[in-house]
Symmetry: C2
Subunit: 770 residues, 2 copies
């Protein structure tokens, strides 16, 4: 853990420049707008250590690891998130010396991520080796209002003498990925052009053949006056640069405004890209920097209006939650059904591929509360549209009769992860996708989606489970062999309690949904049954048998559910006995040692208890929590939030608070020493969950919103909003009371501290806390 950045409720702030921390800051200060995003790389040249990263949504490369021991059924490729052409670059030379912070004495350095307005800002004073002192102030943003555009305003002032300045804004398509095996290049260069104050280039990804076009336009002002000098043009394959040479007086400010457009063949015909890029760029330039920024800020204001959580009395926690809400909104806007939420968003190369079960298990609870139902519905439709491919995927693995196995990692519905223990065995994802349908339905009340789209997915998933189990003659139960649970520090285990539990739940929920469909839409149901050749006598009979006879491992001696068969053969050590120098285990221990140890990467049994808590009494939850929390190292960013929710339920408020801080400040304080690789975007939604389902105790039961708020001892109050079945509620919790305001015109029923309240539109209730 690492308390390096300043605490501030609305900003992330770095003061002083430390090259050793630059990669981490590049991740933390990333900006994005759902269509593209980038690490906080410097605009000007920088010879220190840096992970260059600009990313365009949906653009990837299919990497291969064809080896002699390739197994039948392995995916064709694994997706690599690609570092896209660099469009932010602006190089400076001052009296023939480059401005390069790795080679300057830097003072007054301040980097600020303004989360309220969505801008990245940087101010510093640098003394070049020549002794020239310059003052720099930079702001950039990627527009939410017009998501194919962005702009940079870069101001530089020589403060101790006159200087000859060369300013060279450029576009560079000759970029590489740091995770390339042997520095291979993933782009070919199609076209480039420099003219006037602008330029553009088009690069194409190898194999996948996505085209990405970048355009730039530059304005130069000296002390606010437009500079009329024509730049010189330098371009070569994949590179376009303009160069402005100016003599700058001491204390004179040079300002360059670089407006950029980034378009891809995902949204434009390839042949139209040059023209469209120029058009989009032209509009942005005509609008101008300040109006562009204003439109961008307005969108952010609207986002915060719906999704902010206000914590009083604890700026650290406040900053943490806003950081998470901010990045989630930068990554996914919910308006393009082809996109999803990558684990690193636009902040790094790791975990190529866009969609994991993270979306269903962690992100959907966030979007359900903070965004219109259509956003979550799009996320469900994403999977609905991939159903055919999920069926193909299962077929490839030997399943029949329309069984579907959704990919563990995907870009377009195809599996694109290449580890068998994940791809073939981490099958609980199929349960998470089913559960997301349930979660959406209970939150929104949209049974129409459930019947019209959800049921088809549910039946395909249940068909998978019914073929994936086998009968154990030894146990006289159905078993599920060879799986990897959410705890990926175990691979290829038998009878993972979570997976077995989730599988039976999915079968049960499908049966219930079939019954519902028969009642409310018999014609639609009949049509579906015919389409997918569903025999509702035979298949449900087997499902019921499985539900009745599923084996769920249990550890009598401790009265806890057993994570999987054989878990107790491991040396039983608790995390508090572990030398802190050994952590994080995944950086200190070899993989086999981790697999053999009893340490849990992320909530596994507890994940199941979290999903189905109504089934278990408090004592059971408590025993399991104590047993597993003491063995969990939380080295998955997805882990602590589930523990927060359960700890809060168990009234272990202070433990919940400690875990909350870990999840909400995971990246800011770099708990797992890996933030330089990028941010944990999807787990950020878990942080939101930790507050809303943890401290606020939000549930949905029998169509009703339930809250059981509690307040960590160092919070004065917290407040949040929830979109629920057409209403928008604001909840304020302090030591004395809970105030719920229905800000919409739709009346809503809510249960708080086990009392029901009907709150008409535009009114409030106040409940005293005891």
């Amino acid at each position: 853990m690492n308390k390096y950045l300043k605490i501030d409720p609305w900003c992330i702030m770095e003061e002083g420049f430390d090259g050793n921390r630059h990669r981490s800051s590049e991740s933390i200060f990333s900006i994005g707008n759902g269509k593209m995003g980038q690490r906080a790389n410097f605009e000007e040249q920088y010879s220190g250590s840096s992970l260059q990263g600009s990313y365009v949504a949906g653009i990837y490369y299919p990497d291969k690891t064809k080896v002699g021991w390739w197994k039948n059924g392995y995916p064709e490729y694994f997706a690599k998130v690609l570092n896209a052409p660099n469009f932010i670059g602006i190089n400076f030379t001052l009296d023939n010396e480059p401005l390069d912070l790795a080679k300057c004495k830097v003072t007054s350095f301040r980097r600020v991520l303004n989360m309220k307005e969505g801008t990245l800002n940087r101010d510093f004073i640098a003394v070049l080796p020549s002794g020239l002192r310059v003052k720099v102030s930079v702001m950039r943003f990627l527009s939410l209002a017009s998501p194919e555009t962005g702009a940079i305003r870069y101001c530089i002032t020589p403060v101790n003498r006159n200087a000859e300045v060369k300013v060279s804004p450029y576009l560079d398509g000759n970029v590489v990925n740091e995770d390339a095996n042997w520095n291979e290049v993933f782009w070919t260069q199609l076209d480039h052009e420099a003219s006037g104050h602008g330029g553009y280039l088009i690069a194409r990804t190898l194999k996948t053949e996505f085209d990405v076009a970048c355009g730039m336009h530059n304005r130069i002002l000296v002390d606010g006056n437009e500079c009329r000098d024509k730049p010189s043009h330098h371009s070569r394959d994949g590179y376009v640069e303009l160069s402005y040479a100016l003599s700058l007086k001491k204390e004179s400010q040079l300002e360059i405004i670089k407006t950029i457009a980034v378009l891809s063949s995902l949204n434009h015909e390839k042949k139209d890209l040059p023209g469209d890029t120029k058009k989009v760029l032209k509009s942005a330039v005509q609008l101008g920097f300040v109006p562009m920024l204003k439109a961008h800020r307005e969108i952010w204001a609207g986002i915060w209006e719906h999704s902010d959580i206000v914590i009083e009395g604890d700026d650290e926690a406040q900053q943490g939650i806003r950081f998470n809400i901010f990045h989630l909104n930068q990554t996914y806007r919910g308006d393009d059904p082809r996109l999803n939420i990558g684990p690193k968003g636009f902040t790094g190369e790791k975990y190529g591929g866009s969609t994991y079960w993270d979306t269903e298990a962690f992100c959907i609870p966030f979007f359900l509360c903070t965004a219109p139902a259509s956003v979550t519905r799009n996320l469900l439709l994403y999977r609905y549209k991939h159903l055919e491919k999920a069926i193909e995927n299962a077929l490839k693995l030997g399943y029949k009769n329309g069984a579907a196995l959704y990919p563990m990692v995907t870009m377009n519905g195809e599996e694109c992860h290449n580890e068998w223990e994940i791809t073939f065995e981490e099958i609980h994802r199929n349960g998470a996708i089913a559960f997301a349908i349930h979660n959406y339905t209970r939150h929104t009340g949209d049974h129409k989606y459930l019947i019209e789209y959800g049921l088809e997915v549910l039946i395909a998933i249940s068909r998978f489970w019914s073929q994936r189990v086998n009968w154990s003659g030894e146990k006289m139960k159905y078993v599920i062999l060879g799986v990897t649970g959410p705890n990926e520090y175990e691979n290829n285990v038998n009878n993972n309690w979570y997976t077995n539990t989730l599988a039976t739940w999915a079968l049960q929920y499908t049966l219930e949904t079939i019954d519902l469909a028969k009642q409310v839409d018999p014609a639609g149901y009949k049509k579906l049954a015919e389409k997918i050749n569903f025999n509702d006598m035979e298949e449900p009979a087997r499902w019921k048998d499985i539900i009745a006879k599923m084996y769920l491992p249990y550890l009598e001696s401790e009265g806890v559910f057993l994570q999987q068969d054989g878990y107790m053969d491991k040396e039983q050590i608790t995390v508090d006995q572990l030398d802190s120098k050994q952590r994080p285990l995944n950086q200190k221990w070899s993989w086999d040692r981790i697999l053999r140890s009893c340490f849990i990467k992320q909530a596994d049994v507890l994940q199941g208890i979290y999903l189905f808590e109504d089934r278990y009494d408090t004592e059971t939850i408590s025993r399991n929590f104590d047993f597993y929390e003491s063995r969990t190292v939380h080295e998955s960013s997805l882990s602590p939030c589930v523990h927060v929710v359960l700890a809060a339920k168990l009234k272990k408020t202070e433990m919940a608070y400690r875990l909350y801080l870990r999840t909400s400040r995971l990246d800011i304080d770099d708990y797992n020493n890996e933030v330089h690789e990028g941010l944990h975007i999807t787990s950020m939604a878990g942080t939101y969950m930790a507050i809303i389902e943890g401290f606020a105790g939000k549930r949905v039961k029998e169509g009703r919103l339930v809250l059981n708020p509690q307040l960590p001892s160092n919070w004065e109050s917290f407040a949040f909003k929830i979109l629920f079945r057409g209403s928008q509620l604001k909840a304020e919790v302090n030591n004395r009371k809970v105030i719920i305001t229905n800000e919409s015109s739709v009346s809503v029923e809510i249960n708080i501290y086990n009392h029901d309240y009907a709150i008409p539109g535009n009114s409030s209730v106040e409940i005293m806390r005891n």
Copy 2:
């Protein structure tokens, strides 16, 4: 299975050309000489399906699969066997049409692998699209006498009219691997030259920077008369071609003799390669084709003298065993301690890397019997020399105190396989390496090696085992978690019976060897103990505790050792219930399905019983054999031989015979439908084992050779030789008697059918069979 090739005791023979079988024949007819080898690719151009493969011993490429989910401790690279520059190529055009069997009508096609003499021969008549009919006869070999050289004699005769012929012998360094991910190239071209009737080129592997030089010299004869025409020269980067244009009369024979030299930087200074190549080539050319061939044949005669097995009455079995002995000797000559025996030898790309546990478990028993002790000793020294790297490897995985984990796959002592379940978990290899020391010692009686080299390896291996076990509080036993046994159709299992058994044996054998060393070489022992900081109080005490309290899973209900924990949860189906269309499983089922099934890829419990058979009574062996044989699909080529040995011991001679045929003709008859990828070189040694330890019942007990011969019902007799402790014995077994002839001057003690015989030098005993 595939009875395509002709049965012949000394040859492999293909009659008639079938392009669909060409890839398979390319594997089966491969030739090699321990330093290089090649698939039976055609010399002339061929546009049909072919796997081009020439391989140079010790030359590899370090491929990478760097991915976002890379785990700590993963190896840096995995080795790729590289297709080396093509040196056999000779293109022909006849009246401007290429000779290309894919485009001709081919009759009288006959391809012969002469195993007695080590030559590849091909004869055919082809009718070109123009109607020209040519008769062709080709022979080639890679010299065992001078292993950097080889030669091709290619004769072609137009039979129905005169023809304009262009003959173009060439060298081509622009070669690719079929298993490249995206057709990437692994060679850069350094140099090439064409002059007179010869040429050479040098190519360098990327990353590893091995240089390979090929030289060629060509002679053209027409009807036996040297052609004095000068060729034209065509060369470019990585390619050298000579072209001879001749007018050939009907029925005139054109003969081209292409002599080649292939040298590598493994054996020559890089700067000397051009000169050395020319020198080596010149000697070969001066010697001439026929004397080169004669020297080569003489070496083969010597090999057969030691290692042949003669089977009378069963040409199919005879051909099978000779095929295996032939290829083993083509692959490994035992004279270079840096080389070892790759699973595919020089016959394909698969299983990159040279050394697996195959060497210790399967090849060493072969070389012990058929080659001087120095050959096996070199194979043991290979591991001794890698001890330091094995200790580094273990250190990387968290082991301390000089514990060694040998790599699963290696080129130079470093692990170069990239699957965690193999690399980190298939640790029984460490036991096989210990057992090989025991096997060598008991066969040769060379205790000096055991004390001077073996013990250091044994202690390092025992240190590994003692750290790899953990205490199970639940079982109150030591357990070994997270392993992959010989049966690779299970991964990451707990308490694999074989591994646990082998680990305790290794600890025990190390303790016994320490005692022996203390007795026979106390000074040497003391020096070793100091060198490796060995405390013979503490460490042995723990080892003894582990030996006493190791958990060995047992299945009471069947009275058999249990392959691993949880095996009985699987659906128990026997192989005879399996639809033959589903086989081989590894081509029909996805990997996860294989892992979940009860089917066994290769002997696992039975492998352990094979190694330690003296511990178990016949009933126990029989119960285990019946239980596991019925569940074993033998999809590892290493599997059937162990079953043969046990079946023979159990007097299931006919079953042993059936399994023997499968192992000995695995590639000839292509049982597993994969011979097109290359041959199963290391398992060929298992075939030898099947006869010697199976039908001949060879054992070594208390320093004495033991034989218990039995005869499959359709064999009239079989005869073999064994090198044993300085003596060479010949054994002949027929229906009536066993004749043992001591062909050496050293007297030998032997036990046959439970009777002891002392056989003086140069004498025989005859034992009547009852």
